[in-house]
């Protein structure tokens, strides 16, 4: 699983407060006291007072923006984008004019400050976007919807090289060990292109289609909306930083939406190394079709880069693992590790044991496993 310790959000918040004070307070101070400050540092007085005041005013505004981010970071994420652009432009122009000898070195302080804060704001933005994915990647299994459990799960996936099916076998093992029965529906593309091994031309076609997100269509899944499964698990592999086209085709067909709407759903992603975007794509599709997401897992193939990346290229080119033979000793496996497989078994077990959201106001008689009073003795 992908989760490690990171800088707490409050550190970023207080860094925003720091630049808010610096920008707002500093520019107010600059407007009031620019003459003694410039004299002290030996900088020439501004030639164009209007532009000087304008820049101070704009910079003050960025301070206000940073303060708003400090107050409510999860609600003001777009303001961080504005802050990134503003500070990057300011830093760029500062260094540009300083390099041309048109700016006193004193102003480098502000350029450096804004360059550093461009990075800080960027890191904060990366931290704040899609926070629900962080919860899922922490390993949490969320409560399921309040509907009767049938202990039946549906798997929907496509596996071209066997990595995805290997992952799903382990999830199945976990579910079945906790009393679930599993029905699998493999996506079958209507196009003959998606097969392995493939030719170089086919590989290039798949690659270009994956990059430009050209959709495909699949044979009907023939799962009715009123199906008996209380859990739907979808797996996708990663094709050029995105989810595989046959799996995406499941969601692009409106006829399939009823399979997921109102049901507990879970996402499994496998890849060589770039798992984040395909996971996000799969999860957002599941949410878009009305699925109630309860868990997600993403696994990379084992091994160290760059040999892991090149092992994938050799595998795709040769059509089989361990080729060419003379490199067999250093090529890395093209499937998830044994540890990942064990974690997926645990994932399946956790999915089977997931709790239910209790809907307030629902009569006790409609809740399963209710505690009833013992029958009066005869």
């Amino acid at each position: 699983m992908h989760f490690h310790t990171a800088i707490p959000i409050k550190v970023f918040r207080y860094l925003c407060l720091l630049t808010a004070l610096a920008n707002a307070g500093g520019n107010l101070g600059m407007l009031l006291f620019y003459k003694p400050i410039y004299q002290l540092v030996g900088a020439p007085l501004p030639k164009d007072l209007y532009s000087f005041a304008f820049v101070c005013g704009f910079s003050f505004t960025v301070g206000v923006l940073a303060f708003m981010v400090f107050l409510a970071p999860d609600k003001t994420t777009p303001l961080l984008v504005v802050g990134i652009v503003g500070k990057a432009i300011y830093a760029f122009f500062t260094f540009y004019f300083w390099n041309h000898g048109e700016l006193h070195p004193f102003f480098l302080i502000f350029g450096c400050w804004d360059a550093v804060y461009t990075v800080i704001f960027f890191l904060f933005l990366i931290r704040l976007v899609s926070p629900d994915l962080t919860v899922l990647n922490h390993g949490d299994i969320l409560d399921g919807v309040d509907r009767p459990r049938t202990n039946k799960a549906l798997f929907v996936y496509f596996s071209m090289t066997g990595n995805g099916s290997r992952a799903m076998r382990r999830v199945r093992e976990g579910l079945e060990s906790r009393g679930y029965s599993v029905h699998e529906k493999i996506c079958e593309s209507n196009e003959a292109l998606f097969h392995f091994p493939f030719s170089l031309i086919d590989f290039i076609r798949i690659m270009l289609r994956a990059i430009f997100r050209v959709p495909t269509t699949i044979k009907p899944l023939d799962i009715p909306d009123n199906h008996p499964y209380d859990l739907v698990v979808v797996e996708s592999q990663t094709w050029f930083v995105g989810m595989g086209a046959p799996v995406e085709a499941v969601f692009q067909d409106p006829r399939n939406r009823g399979i997921f709407a109102g049901r507990d759903v879970a996402a499994v992603n496998v890849c060589r190394g770039l798992w984040q975007r395909p996971q996000a794509q799969l999860i957002r599709w599941l949410q878009m079709v009305g699925g109630h997401l309860v868990g997600a897992r993403a696994y990379e193939n084992p091994g160290y880069e760059p040999i892991r990346c090149f092992s994938l290229f050799f595998f795709l080119g040769a059509g089989a693992p361990g080729k060419p033979a003379f490199l067999k000793g250093i090529l890395t496996p093209q499937h998830i590790s044994a540890e990942a497989e064990r974690e997926l078994v645990s994932f399946g077990q956790a999915l089977a044991e997931r709790k239910k959201i209790i809907t307030p106001g629902v009569p006790l008689s409609l809740l399963p496993h209710r505690v009833t009073a013992p029958a009066a003795s005869a």
Binding site: I126, R213, G273
Partner: protein, 145 residues
């Protein structure tokens, strides 16, 4: 037509000419171009990682992310090495050293994100190596010619 020509002729082209000159990696402006290219590598990597979980259905966002995986950085650096060797022959090998430094900055930028978000890919050394296979052979050929 004259007014269009006049408009274009009087445009602010200085910075672009200056950028082209800077990208020839003049030895007397090393600090400048190193800062500029370093910032370029950092911003590319941070943009790539920022696009990881957003605009999931946008083709444009996906294409940009794919290009930022290695293509943009690798091709830009390769073009810079060729241009620099054309303008300042004999500095090809030194410039290759700087290109390696920029690749290291690229890697650091990706790894920095690991500090910010607990679930992130970080730098992708695999595709960076693919990028290096574009940049450095081109740079070596430019240095040899």
């Amino acid at each position: 037509m004259n007014i269009i020509t006049w408009f274009i002729h009087n445009g602010t082209w200085g910075p672009f000419k200056d950028l082209l000159d800077l990208m020839s990696l003049p030895p007397e402006r090393t600090r400048e171009w190193l800062m500029f290219l370093g910032a370029f590598m950092v911003l590319c990597e941070l943009t790539r990682l920022a696009l990881a979980t957003v605009f999931t259905r946008s083709v444009l966002a996906h294409v940009i992310r794919c290009l930022l995986t290695f293509a943009i950085q690798a091709i830009v650096l390769a073009a810079v090495l060729v241009w620099a060797d054309h303008r300042y022959p004999g500095r090809g090998w030194i410039n290759l050293g700087y290109a390696l430094l920029l690749y290291f900055i690229w890697y650091l930028a990706g790894q920095l994100v690991l500090l910010a978000r607990p679930d992130t890919e970080g730098a992708d050394l695999g595709f960076m190596t693919v990028g290096a296979l574009i940049t450095f052979p081109v740079g070596i050929i430019a240095a040899l010619i």
